[in-house]
Amino acid sequence: MKWYYGKLLRVNLAEKSYTVDEIPEELFTNYLGGRGLGSYLLLEHVQADIDPLSEENKVIFTNGFTTGTSMFGSSRYAVFSKSPQTGLFGEATSGGKVAPALHSTGYDAIILEGASAAPVYLEINDREVIFHSAEHLWGKETYETEDTVLREVNTPKAQAVVIGPAGENLVSFACIENNYWHSAGRSGIGAVLGSKKVKALVFYGESKTSVVNPELLQELMKEMAATGKDHAGVKAYRRLGTTQMVAAMNAAKAFPNRYWRDAYYSHWEKISGETLLENFEVKPTACPKCFISCSKKTTVKTGRHKGLTIEGPEYETIFVFGGLCLIPELDEIIYLNDLCDRLGMDTITAGNLIGLVMEAGQLGRIPVKLEYGDVEGAAQLLRDIADRRGVGQVLARGIKEAAKEWGLEDLAIHVKGMEPAGYDPRPLKGMGLAYATSSRGACHLRASFYKPELSGMIDRKTTQGKAEMLIDWENRLTIFNTGTLCQFFRDLLEWPNVERLVYAITGLEYHKDKLSEIANQIVTNTRIFNAREGATKQEDTLPPRFFKEPVNNGQDRITVEELQFMVDEYYKLRGWDDSGYPVHEEG
């Protein structure tokens, strides 16, 4: 038994058939798995210039090299496609309980090809693929869909990924949901599933891979558990989860609010993690094989949403609805979070779009009046987006299209069609570089570079040395993503431990230089995908407002020249040419 299966399942949705292909060993030694395998297969199997919502696009699920092992943080899956949101490389990952079930089907990767004529859901195990009608599920929200397909498949270890009405209606930022509240959120891959009429996938099986050096893995995990026991970061995650960032980002004056007008929110305490703990019933929960327990199962105790329970809200959802939309009530944010989860849409993009409408309306730039702080107006707009009604029809196409149609290109905040997360790049210039150069759009997880910038590892206001440090972080986290390993273990797995982890599971004696080389090739592959779609250096930039509008009373700004300096350095260190794109090599 090896550490990988060497098997690729290809499902033909049009013909309701499937084949199993071998995956050559060199793909695993070259790319390890997860993002490495997924980005390679995307490049290989998806032709250039296709419509992301046509039957020619594909959806690729992958395991990482840690999936199916006992490793902490290994219960995550990754999914890839050409993004309908950006028209470029699309990727999303999600925690919860699905990854071990997906892994137990006996495939390293699953590719969905073509499109079904009628709604289906797939039951995939290590013996067969069963195509079930999903006519009775079409139009249903995500929670009900998940419950129904799991009940119908009726297998104890089965887990499901589903889409909601937003995915069915091809909303460009529709996500994939699992375990009710876990989302493969970004890039709009839920819409690609919708275009293929795939409402859900259910995974289970008995297949296993082996760990090459199990004793070494146990030793590493034992050390991590010991370090994690009193680790301040772990403790903060366990108590507050990502909500801890509300206080931190406001203290750092990098908390975007009033649709990116300000970076400090005077009402931040009302939406902080401490306020959540004080006023709500909050229970820490964990994905399987995790001791951090970052997730918070939260129940509203009073008011009009009394009894409403979600896992969350995460910092990013608080930032968009609390910050960008100026809704300073956690129960209302939870309400909007729940609505997005039910409809199956990414909260970061959804909240950014609502904020754009609020700002544009206030400026009289669009004939829509939605006041800042209007919860019910926001909720109605979310439903209208999911159902593609009225203004929602425009927003469903994504921010790039909406800004173009409404003449708001100067106002809309996005990179390559994807909106940034809750880290303002004006006080955090390295985040500006990360947003600008990320292949999937304004991604905060590529390198989570706010961490070194806030901790003073590098001066957040400087541009010197930013590219070099960003690449080091991006490379390390890219290796995390080849393992589909949760990034929240990043403080416990510096490079030496990453080397040990790779060696323990795969037996590959790769040191930092080799792993960085692998990471560089993976990042380069995503760039090749984008270059093939016609993306150029012009797209590696930030929204114009970030250059024109300083925040914090004019103290924090980023200039075109500063970004250009960092981007040029980034290209050089990645080994790319001056245009920022590697020469495209077929295959």
């Binding site: 680790h231 301040a232 970061g233 903060a236 960032m245």
Partner: protein
């Protein structure tokens, strides 16, 4: 005279407090010693700093907010060391709009908010 020296010369040294005394008693004793030192003129009253410690850094001192006296030249890093707050657990510290480094020299009246290693999504 440094804060360290002041503590060191106290009859009730921090090291003499048994581990079973409990954190509350530890802090009460420490405050007594500070007051005592002020009364003796060992610490100038005007040199006071407030640290607002975010979870879990507050656990090291069992308080969310510490008011501390310090002597001229004391840095933020010195203060963390003195108070038993591991600087590698500190993510960042902020004074008004300014992010501080460990070598920041404390000023009278500073109100410094201290955060652990930050962990976003």
């Amino acid at each position: 005279m440094t804060l360290e020296a002041s503590f060191g010369t106290s009859k009730i040294g921090a090291d003499n407090i048994g581990v079973n005394c409990g954190t509350m008693l530890y802090n009460e004793v420490k405050q007594f010693r500070i007051n005592h030192s002020i009364a003796e003129g060992k610490i100038k009253m005007e040199n006071q700093v407030t640290l607002k410690l975010n979870y879990p850094l507050n656990e090291y001192v069992a308080q969310n907010e510490l008011k501390l006296q310090f002597s001229e030249g004391t840095t933020l890093g010195d203060l963390f060391l003195k108070e038993g707050i591991p600087s590698d657990s500190v993510g960042f510290a902020v004074l008004n709009d300014t992010m501080l480094h460990l070598n920041y020299r404390l000023q009278n009246g500073d109100f410094i908010r201290v955060f652990p290693l930050v962990n976003g999504g």
